[in-house]
Symmetry: C2
Subunit: 220 residues, 2 copies
């Protein structure tokens, strides 16, 4: 059985505004599963590197992929420490004072390390990543062949520690500022997708894929 | 006079899909100026760290801010190398083959270092960050007082090298796959903001701030 919490260590303890911090897997996986874009950083000879990339999650494992020739991903295959962050921006928080302006957001910070994935798990990892981006698409598209699998590198990220930081709700101003004639509130960030666009190179008049229709509907 | 291009070095050269890479300041600043959220990473004793945070740009300088007590930001004040990435997700690119699935995106990668900002530049930097998030808000809100300025740390990031990576347009499949009866196209990511929500703690019935109305209108 898996633990429900990540161990709280010096590394993953939210120091600023600790009431916004969460260490339970439900909160952290909630932030991860509602997205598919992460930023990953690591260092090489004292130089930090970072890439934005898609990911997929299964249990305590995150999968990422890229080209077999990627010098970036190759650096991670030796298991060096990495930091992975997923950030949702939910709203601009407009307070009466500039100082108390903020954002509503949900972010998860993962500390871990990666290792190369091969064989059956590699194909399954690609399915997981694809399904995290757009559920149902894996069943619609032509699956990877041997040459494409060889050209693709897949890494599994084992989570060592993790934390989530979440802010929700209206602004919080200093008491005297509530008397100021300044509007305060939230400007919510719009989520979701617009109407799918056909590839102009389509040879026949196919209806828009079910996966595309459903992901648009999901956020309507 | 400033150069129009960042020097292309080993550090900022886009190796994967080099046709997507750009090194001119117009492209890179275009990516930066269309956003206010970045991810910044650095390392400390071999451990990579990363935070999502707001930024503002003036010329070749980026400003970020946080609490004076932030152990995260404090690490950067010694000028160690940092990596800052801004990523826009513009669309899901659905190809006929799983392999050629992609995303339309614009990202900028900045390599640089930070230093603490004080005095008049500190207040100006806060104005720049606020205006990058929501233009016009600085003039509407109560400006920071001395205590608030003391509680705030501002860092200026000098750009050493930078690059942008941009993908636009429809999917690109292998020639034989165009005959497959699989729908292909783009699912555009919706941008912008929803209708502003009043702070329930407002004491009087003020109209929604002009800055909030205008940022909603900008993306409509």
């Amino acid at each position: 059985m898996q633990d429900k919490y990540f161990d709280q260590s010096k590394l993953n303890t939210v120091k600023r505004l600790p009431k916004r911090g969460a260490y339970d897997k439900a909160s952290i996986y909630g932030v991860l599963d509602d997205h598919f874009l992460c930023h990953i950083s690591w260092e090489d000879a004292g130089q930090p590197f970072m890439i934005p990339t898609a990911f997929g999650r299964v249990e305590d494992k995150l999968y990422i992929h890229g080209s077999s020739k990627s010098r970036m991903l190759s650096m991670l295959t030796d298991g060096r420490p990495l930091c992975l962050v997923v950030t949702h921006l939910d709203g601009l928080v407009l307070a009466r004072s500039v100082f108390h302006h903020s954002m509503n957001y949900r972010s998860a910070v993962i500390y871990g390390h990666a290792q190369k994935v091969e064989g059956d798990e590699k194909m399954e990892a690609l399915r997981v990543i694809t399904e995290q981006i757009i559920p149902g698409r894996w069943e619609e598209a032509r699956l990877p062949n041997a040459i494409e699998m060889k050209a693709t590198m897949v890494l599994a990220i084992e989570i060592n520690t993790a934390s989530a930081k979440i802010r929700t709700g209206p602004p919080s101003d200093d008491a005297p500022d509530y008397d100021l004639p300044i509007w305060a509130g939230i400007v919510p960030v719009r989520k979701g997708y617009d109407v799918p666009m056909h590839d102009p190179a389509m040879k026949t008049n196919l209806p828009i894929a079910q996966s595309a229709l459903e992901i648009v509907k999901k956020y309507q």
